[in-house]
Symmetry: C2
Subunit: 297 residues, 2 copies
């Protein structure tokens, strides 16, 4: 079985434990809609890839962390799509949760995915209590109100905000947690991985900003051009399209360079390079050049 | 210092760790508005009262559990008050969070209180890892989508639901968790306390239903008569007012009787009896009689 399919199986199993025959059906359907079918599942894949690059990692803990991180990512998308935030009707090529169900179930499904992420993680079969506590701390912090996703999202409600901090919290924080949780599940020093996670998170956000300008909604499965419409901070708006692409390429080089020296796992570097191609493909680069030529002619 | 003031201090300290000088201010203000000033703080007080009735309880763990439970309770109120649910403009005598700030900050403040509750609990200073994991499991389950607050709330989105299950999940579950977490922080067998928590949670829900009919908004600090308007399930609607009061009295007797035999802490019984008087006071009972006489005359 391919690693991707195994991950999907773990997510499915975890989600099945979020309901019982006697629990409210529509809530579970809304949660399912939020998690399946997924996107690239890059955060959990990263977590597992880092863990797997160590010999003696705690497999149950790494998998539980990966699942929790994906649940939390999905929860953030469901709440972000709500009418009072992005008002996005589509996600991953299908109606967003509040469109398919209603606002109440979208709020509850998001809440439930947050709670169940932590329940799942806490209840994983492990004897490495200290590692588990470290992972729980990394993951809660990465979505929390100090410097996590929720803090990032909350900058949209402030008069002034820095683009860098906004992106680091809204996107980077969970990438960092995914990477560091992978290392923590192996009992490895997590600080060695912070820079890697940070740079990678930033690269993803920049790629997302670029795609918001150049991609067609059918390519990314959600509305595009939203940053402009909503007047939101974006690297593409700040650096220009070509500038953003150059910045992205530079970030990917930095990511690869920041893999700790003791870790010579070629699979990890390959994963990063492939993701970079998926995120900003050749077709997209040609489009950027065309748009920029048009703008300057 | 009174136990109440000490609890407020712990809540204040915990909330102060939910932000930093560089984090978004309005989010923190919204979270503060959700937690302070509080209501009766009955759930955390119960948790601490149970813990305190044992000689060798883990004080840090019990306090962290109490704080987490109160954060989760406040989070559920903030999301319940939203326009798409109860559409309640007032809470604890002040504008609800979405009225004082906006819907976005109400959703984020609720999300943040959930996340920070678990972060706080996980990070408490304890060497009792097994007890901590048990408390984390009890608390996550009590608010989750299988049989916790979120499941309870989700019954409002289903065509059919049982009043008993709805109330047990929406209110009872967190009471049960509060009681059982108190026992768990002392390493005591939690199952001895399930019935006590269950009955007490039910009593609170029945009292809330009664007050929704007879109380003035200024007495309870939130809109009343909402069950009728929203067509929601309620003991007062199902049993009639006098029936609901009799049922409440019976439940309180059952609560007191279900205190485990080995635990002869008179303080606990006193707390329950005093709470019963606070919840359905003499004035309210007279009002119930008057309303019932009117209905039958």
């Amino acid at each position: 079985m391919k690693p991707e399919s195994i991950l999907e199986l773990h997510l499915k199993n975890a989600l099945s434990k979020c309901s019982s025959p006697g629990s409210p059906k529509r809530l579970h359907m809304a949660m399912h809609h939020a998690v399946f079918p997924g996107g690239a599942r890059i955060r959990p894949r990263l977590c597992l890839a880092i863990a797997d690059s160590f010999d003696n990692y705690d497999k149950n803990l790494a998998i539980a962390a990966a699942v929790a991180i994906e649940f939390l990512h999905c929860a953030s998308l469901v709440h972000d799509d709500l009418p009072c935030f992005d008002d996005a009707n589509m996600r991953r090529g299908r109606p967003s949760v509040h469109k398919e169900f209603d606002e109440r179930l979208a709020i509850l499904a998001g809440d439930a995915l947050i709670v169940e992420a932590f329940r799942h993680l806490n209840n994983c079969q492990t004897r490495h209590f200290a590692r588990l506590r470290l992972v729980l701390n990394l993951v809660t912090r990465s979505v929390g109100s100090v410097s996590g996703i929720i803090a990032g999202q909350a900058w949209e409600c402030e008069k002034r905000a820095s683009l860098e901090q906004y992106q680091r919290e809204k996107t980077g924080a969970l990438f960092e947690a995914a990477v560091m949780s992978g290392a923590a599940s192996a009992g490895s020093e997590i600080e060695n991985w912070r820079l890697f996670g940070e740079k990678l998170g930033e690269a993803y956000q920049v790629a997302d900003d670029i795609r918001d300008v150049i991609a067609h909604p059918s390519d990314v499965g959600k509305p595009t051009g939203r940053d402009e419409v909503l007047g939101r901070m974006s690297s593409a708006r700040e650096l220009g399209l070509s500038g953003a692409v150059a910045y992205f390429d530079n970030l990917i080089d930095e990511v690869v360079a920041s893999v700790p020296k003791f870790n010579n796992d070629a699979k990890l570097t390959k994963l990063i390079r492939n993701e970079a191609i998926r995120l900003v493909p050749k077709k997209g680069r040609i489009k950027v050049q065309k748009i920029d030529r048009k703008a300057f002619s």
